[in-house]
Subunit: 328 residues, 2 copies
Amino acid sequence: MNNQIRIGIVGYGNLGREAVQAIKQRADMKLIAIFTRRSPDSMQVEDETLNIVHISEAEAYKDHIDVMILCGGSATDLPEQGPFFAHMFNTVDSYDTHAKIPEYFSSVDEAAKNGGKTSVISVGWDPGLFSLNRMLGEAMLPKGETYTFWGEGVSQGHSDAIRRIKGVKDAIQYTVPIAEAMEKVRRGELPTLSTREKHLRECYVVLEKEADPVEIERQIKTMPNYFADYETTVTFISESELKTKHAKMKHGGFVIRSGKTGDNSNQIFEFSLKLDSNPAFTSSVLVTYARAAYYLNKAGDIGAKTVYDIAPKYLSDRPVEDLRRDLL
Amino acid sequence: MNNQIRIGIVGYGNLGREAVQAIKQRADMKLIAIFTRRSPDSMQVEDETLNIVHISEAEAYKDHIDVMILCGGSATDLPEQGPFFAHMFNTVDSYDTHAKIPEYFSSVDEAAKNGGKTSVISVGWDPGLFSLNRMLGEAMLPKGETYTFWGEGVSQGHSDAIRRIKGVKDAIQYTVPIAEAMEKVRRGELPTLSTREKHLRECYVVLEKEADPVEIERQIKTMPNYFADYETTVTFISESELKTKHAKMKHGGFVIRSGKTGDNSNQIFEFSLKLDSNPAFTSSVLVTYARAAYYLNKAGDIGAKTVYDIAPKYLSDRPVEDLRRDLL
């Protein structure tokens, strides 16, 4: 196929690997290269046709890649890689350190504008599609409240916190939205919900030999910030059960806007995702927004962008006339 | 408040009346006038401060109204009013004759471009927010199927069809999505669903004196196009029960995209609305898109637009920096 959008991927972890698959599902795109900080020769890659390149050589691809998908983490990778790549390539990333988004936006915006490029930041599902729905719900129903519930799904940060406890061999933590709270919201009751009333935390823990389950359960349930403010359950399981029953990175959640129109009617606006694989879906969203970065840049719209700046048509590979005819 | 967006409303039926309320909920907007084909003096209007003007005088408001909200019907009003007003004003409408959307788009587009105006067509919830989600779901999950379920809600067309039967004094029809079909979709089973498998039709009917209930039930259930292809229930009720229990124009529905990402994981994307008043919510969406018509026109983006052409930020009254800080 001619005129495919030429894609590069920076970072070959969970997200990067899934981005490779997401590109294969889209006939209008073509993967050119994957850039990594590791030594490309040392890497074990299932698919030998992939072109793995050291990150230091990225600049040589300036004229051969239309959009670079940045698959690094928000803590240390993206604050550096975002502006660096935005100067040379159109980019898309999943930056999610919420408090620092304005700062990150500015630094990417400046780099992209200097380079005449377009960078879509903070996409995925939250931030991303959930952010979009929080905004749409508020705009359509200005008098009301917005509620976000996450889960049922794996929280990497909370799982790690449990694994750091002495005597824990492995662990996984699920965030579970509380059905009763969601039903109150859906009935238009506009409840004020405390942290504890919105989500449960379910922990599945594999113990080291001779570890004390009572003490470990106590340590988990009283851990400040992570568990102390929540209803938390701890279930001890075997290592094999953890591997077989808890291997999938499922996740999802709900954005609900409950509002009243001028006639005092209750109106409920809800968006939800139920994902069997969080990284696969997040990558799919990133790759979809890569298409928008490409088209916005072609239209001369440079600088940093978020979900709020992007007309939906730029996310589709179909002509807008077809969208009007088939989907409107 | 200075710099409010000055709004006009064309048509003072269900939608127009609710649009008045929706404008009051938005501090950045101001209602200038309501235009009607009836004689303004003859109209019974609750709120005497409303400026009701005969439609023939609309042109005199060219410099005093930023966006005209067209609240007429799709069958006969909008095909004429859409292009007529698009030439003089930015407009927004809820045109919903699906098969004729391309034709309607062209005629409004030409008029709006000639007049240097911006016209957002076919907004509301379906077409409108549902159309947006059908497109987004497909873009995020290109391998999959999209399902739209409507209801539980009142279908005006089906209610009218029952009322036309001899012996029926009054009637209301609810379209009800079939829970079992929705659950199959949500489980990622990608079912092929016939018309009958997606929706039930529940009819509440008030009989004329001496009408034959058996014959009327038969006529309803065998009515081609409207009921013959559906599981239909008929319940006879008293006139007072119809007035007390079935007065609200509730509606809603579900857009579900069930897809598989490249790793073969099931991923479910769902948007839903549960509306106590269909006309109040539809008007609220129209008024929100009126804001977009105004901002797009200010940005020089003229012609006919649909939900696919509009960057979400134009729907909010908040600066995009605030959206990034608070909602991303």
